[in-house]
């Protein structure tokens, strides 16, 4: 099976390790991965901030870049949601049907929950808003994590509440955003887990930034970074 990786702009520039982990994971599962170089940004920040006209060319570019692929896989719940929920409003209906968030692709298309990963740490899972409500990922990410050898999953209190990132919301309403993020970080720390994990690096950038500001003993990691780990190839 051949899939196109939609790595997303945030992962490309700031979290390449997540993109690399996604490639390693998919290849380990026998999937052939392509990276169409014409991809840039799905247009989510522009669209959500009210710049519809400026979003339009990015929708066209993204659709163009992934033409001809049966599956487009992305390690980002919010970018998958942008394509799935909002691209049809720009008249783009082919790509949404072929775009999968990573955990969705693993469970629904590949039909695996045990991806052969090894990660000997305690982990708590934050279901991001786009993963939870826009995509309806349900328990897919948790099932994948529960099948990881060595991993102990801890319940996150008030898990379904937004972390307060919200793209430009974090800048435009910095105080409220920080208050939400601090509550999320406090709940995550209360689990005593070594790692906080999610399907979206943008949310993790926000919560992880708060954890590091507090010198907290907890690391924020994308689910792909965990699922890619094996005994032979632990976390880089």
């Amino acid at each position: 099976m051949r899939v196109a990786l939609f790595v997303t702009c945030v992962n490309d520039a700031v979290y390449p390790a997540t993109g690399i982990a996604t490639v390693r994971l998919l290849e380990r599962l026998g999937v052939e991965v392509d990276f169409p170089a014409g991809q840039t940004c799905c247009g989510q920040p522009q669209y959500n901030t009210g710049y519809r006209r400026e979003t339009e060319p990015l929708v066209r570019r993204t659709a163009q870049a992934f033409q001809g692929y049966e599956y487009v896989v992305t390690p980002s719940g919010s970018c998958a949601a942008m394509v799935r929920e909002h691209y049809p409003k720009f008249g783009e209906t082919a790509l949404p049907a072929r775009t999968y968030e990573l955990t969705e692709f693993l469970v629904d298309v590949l039909g695996v929950t045990d991806v052969g990963a090894f990660f000997p740490h305690t982990v708590t899972y934050h279901p991001t808003c786009h993963g939870l409500r826009a995509l309806g990922l349900g328990d897919r990410p948790r099932r994948l994590l529960e099948a990881v050898k060595g991993l102990e999953l801890r319940e996150l209190p008030v898990a379904e509440e937004c972390c307060g990132f919200g793209g430009t919301f974090a800048v435009k309403n910095a105080d409220v955003s920080a208050a939400m993020g601090q509550d999320k970080a406090r709940n995550a720390l209360a689990t005593g887990a070594d790692v906080l994990c999610a399907v979206d690096n943008s949310c993790l950038m926000h919560i992880g930034g708060i954890l590091r500001r507090q010198d907290a003993p907890q690391r924020a990691l994308h689910i792909a970074d965990i699922l890619a780990c094996t005994e032979e190839e632990p976390l880089p």
Partner: protein, 479 residues
């Protein structure tokens, strides 16, 4: 809307103090989490909730599509039942009508059942300017009025107050409005309720004029409906000789039967009750019972403008249950006052800018007062896609330009050019990676961000570069 809210600062500035107010945040967290958990249980009891939600949405959509027809039918029904209908285009006209009606009775005071519409138009202040005292009789509204405060929640206007604060307000203020608080009033809920009961009873028995809003109006019969929990509303609706109801035009439903849907969805969504304790319905006047004179003031105040907006009009489906407030993480931290309107929370963020326009600082900032997490849409009993309307209103604000938005559009345009040229993007990423050791920990322009968070460290190479070095499409390179 009310002049009270004119000159409010933008949402982010108004929210800043609330975020730092530890008591306020604790009060709000406790109250909203309690109500939201109860609501989830009450809703889960109904197997056909999804269908009720869809039915409510359809009834409202149908009514809004034919609003002119149903309003005319309502006017005919109310008139036939002995009531008088008045049409008010805006707040000033509605206030004028009510003040004149009260003056015509020769009275200088009215009792009020809690009403969002009269809050919206600032009726109390308008009556006060005419020498008429308006007494709020809903317990939470009473607390707000006695505390010289503003409501901060649609359903629980004093949600931002805890029991100790309420006791202090009662002790200090009740005496100057009527019957004073009993000696040694404690903060026990039963004592507080009893103090309010004694204070209010005096007003109910004296009042000759009552003022109400309504949850629904039935076009076919001319029946007006009020849902409430305390019974104070029923006192206001039945004891006075004259009843004046001020109601937004979107509150009409075609038939009595349509109420069956909302009788189920409204109480469960708002107070997590299977049925609200008091449902009062009245049709015109009756010789032997209730007020002898009934006036219905139909309020537009921006509603027809909103109706003209294809995306925004769904806000008019709102039945004011406030479920969206109770699940909103932004409302929980910012508090209701930060929204600068009687309609706070997610629904306020889309309703106020539509009813008042987006010219003022506060109204232009409200569409951004959300992280678009979608929790509000999920709980809405009439399925208002609040995030969709927020983004739609953001487009209007961005198009309007003004403070910050011209610069923002220029930046978005510049970024757009880079994002439409992958080679330029790759070059930019390379340059950023090369200079990453020089990046300061706090960036100019990223000030608000770095005040509470560490910026991520940029990696040595982008994913794009890694791919080039380690893979060509479909094949691993030798590493």
């Amino acid at each position: 809307m009310s002049g009270t809210y004119l000159g409010m600062p933008s949402f982010p500035r108004a929210a800043r103090d609330a975020v730092q107010d530890v008591t306020l945040r604790a009060n709000l967290r406790h109250a909203t989490h309690t109500i939201r958990d109860k609501r989830a249980k009450a809703v889960a009891e109904l197997e056909d909730w999804a269908r009720l939600r869809e039915a409510g949405k359809q009834i409202k959509n149908h009514t809004l599509r034919h609003l002119d027809r149903y309003l005319e039918q309502l006017e005919a029904s109310v008139t036939a039942a002995g009531g008088t209908v008045h049409w008010a285009a805006d707040a000033a006209e509605a206030n004028r009508i009510v003040a004149d009606l009260v003056k015509a009775t020769g009275q200088n005071e009215v009792v009020k059942v809690k009403s969002m519409a009269t809050q919206e138009i600032g009726l109390n202040e308008a009556l006060e300017a005419e020498g008429i005292a308006a007494y709020e009789t809903d317990l939470a509204e009473l607390i707000v009025q006695l505390g010289h405060d503003r409501p901060s929640h649609i359903l629980v206007p004093a949600i931002h107050r805890n029991r100790g604060e309420i006791r202090d307000i009662f002790r200090k203020e009740m005496g100057s409005w009527g019957r004073a608080a009993p000696e040694g009033l404690t903060e026990a809920p039963a004592d507080l309720a009893e103090a309010a009961r004694l204070h209010l009873r005096e007003k109910f028995l004296r009042a000759k004029v009552g003022v109400s809003g309504a949850n629904f109006m039935v076009a076919e019969t001319g029946t007006i409906v009020v849902f409430e929990s305390e019974g104070n509303g029923r006192m206001c609706l039945t004891l006075p000789e004259t009843l004046i109801s001020v109601v937004g035009i979107e509150k009409v439903v075609p038939t009595w039967r349509d109420l069956e849907v909302f009788l189920q969805t409204l109480p469960r969504s708002s107070t997590a009750e299977r049925m609200n304790p008091y449902t009062s319905m009245w049709t015109g006047t009756a010789d032997a019972d209730g007020p002898g004179t009934f006036h219905l003031v139909l309020l537009d105040n921006g509603r027809t403008d909103s109706l003209a907006d294809e995306v925004g009009r769904q806000a008019l489906r709102c039945i004011r249950c406030s479920a969206c407030l109770n699940v909103c993480p932004v409302y929980e931290r910012a508090g209701g006052h930060a929204y600068g309107s009687v309609y706070p929370g997610p629904i306020g963020a889309i309703l106020s800018p539509q009813l008042r326009g987006i010219q003022s600082e506060i109204d232009a900032s409200l569409p951004y007062a959300s992280s678009l997490c979608g929790a509000c849409y999920e709980v809405c009993p009439v399925a208002i896609d609040i995030p969709e309307v927020l983004v739609h209103l953001r487009e209007k604000v961005a198009d309007q330009g003004g403070k910050g938005h011209r610069v923002e559009r220029a930046a978005i345009k510049a970024a757009g050019w880079v994002l439409d040229h992958p080679a330029a993007l790759a070059a930019g990423e390379k340059a950023a990676a090369r200079t990453r050791r020089l990046h300061p920990r706090t960036l100019p322009g990223a000030g608000p961000w770095t005040a509470a968070r560490e910026l991520p460290e940029l990696p040595a190479q982008s994913f794009r570069d890694w791919w080039k070095k380690n893979r060509t499409n479909g094949k691993k390179n030798r590493t």
